[in-house]
Symmetry: C2
Subunit: 194 residues, 2 copies
């Protein structure tokens, strides 16, 4: 089993999200989806309330070019979002509210943000995305407003902090943390070994 | 042709340095060795005079564990250095002073720092490492003190800043920057395509 930790505003999480299910299926490894929020973590570790890619323009320039290349490499749609980072709290809650559809819903939300430049903080957009992914749109958006789902997202973020997450995406296998989309293969190999 | 940009104090540069020549040779790509200094870059971009892995302990804890795993994966010797980051100015100058032996000398210096916990800021250590790598130890250490070599290292660091380097290692192919040891394969594929 491989835990996939991701943040809907994160560009590199997009690349990982579009690949993780397929690569794990090929390797016979199951995926557990763990959306969380990077905002509180960046705030605590770096004292910033924005993406490090905005705060450090040199890193930002590299990242935008790198995303073009990575999406071309993996055959993923790519459009630089007109708002970055997008508010991702509701999207993360909706994903948690989608139940067994969390995998397809996660991919639909990421593709909307980074392939179609849609506002994934808009409940109407999210409702349609859940439907398009085969889930219950009304139900997931309604669940997203409940105390139970809000608590689950807070718990995910707290657990991410506890296990040493400092960015996204991450893969966790048997207590081993792998940071970055380019470590998916290492994480899968670890899962196969253990 | 692939430019390999590296810093002798950088743990991830070690992993890349031990692999770059062999992986490029296998792909029919030549390597240009470009040692540079991260210190001035971190100072300018982040306002710090230490490694970000020391300044941010959460990242540091991850990095030390990750290095163990990466060295095991690639069959590289690994001993966590008792001093981190080590002063790397003289080592970088000695590598530049080693002329055509820069590849083997680079690997010998990295292996000393991260495999044997040796002080790579010590001229005697460096002299022996150059000899062990088939170079002229006395000559390289003497050249390292000259204005010409000092200027070459400053020029490398200035060029790194100009092309948008913000960490190490990096690979540059036809103007494309790839950051991180885990992107060696992407950089080689780029070199083969162009």
């Amino acid at each position: 089993m491989l835990q996939f930790w991701y943040e809907f505003a994160s560009t590199y999480s997009y690349v990982a999200a579009m690949r993780v299910e397929q690569e794990c299926a090929r390797a016979g490894v199951t995926v557990e989806y763990r959306p969380f929020l990077l905002g509180p973590i960046f705030n605590e570790l770096l004292g910033i309330k924005d993406s490090p890619f905005n705060v450090q323009p040199v890193r930002g320039r590299y990242m935008w070019r790198d995303l073009e290349r990575l999406c071309a490499k993996h055959g993923l749609p790519w459009r630089r979002p007109s708002v970055f980072p997008r508010h991702s709290v509701l999207a993360a809650r909706v994903a948690l509210g989608a139940g067994p559809a969390i995998g397809p819903v996660t991919r639909a939300i990421f593709a909307a943000n980074f392939g179609d430049d849609l506002d994934i903080s808009d409940p109407d957009v999210l409702r349609k995305l859940v439907e398009s992914a085969g889930g219950n749109g009304e139900g997931a958006v309604a669940l997203a407003q409940t105390a139970g789902i809000k608590a689950r997202l807070r718990a995910n973020t707290a657990e991410a902090q506890r296990i040493g997450v400092f960015g996204a995406p991450d893969f966790v296998v048997g207590g081993e943390l792998f940071f970055g989309q380019d470590r998916l293969e290492d994480a899968i190999a670890w899962a196969q070994r253990t």
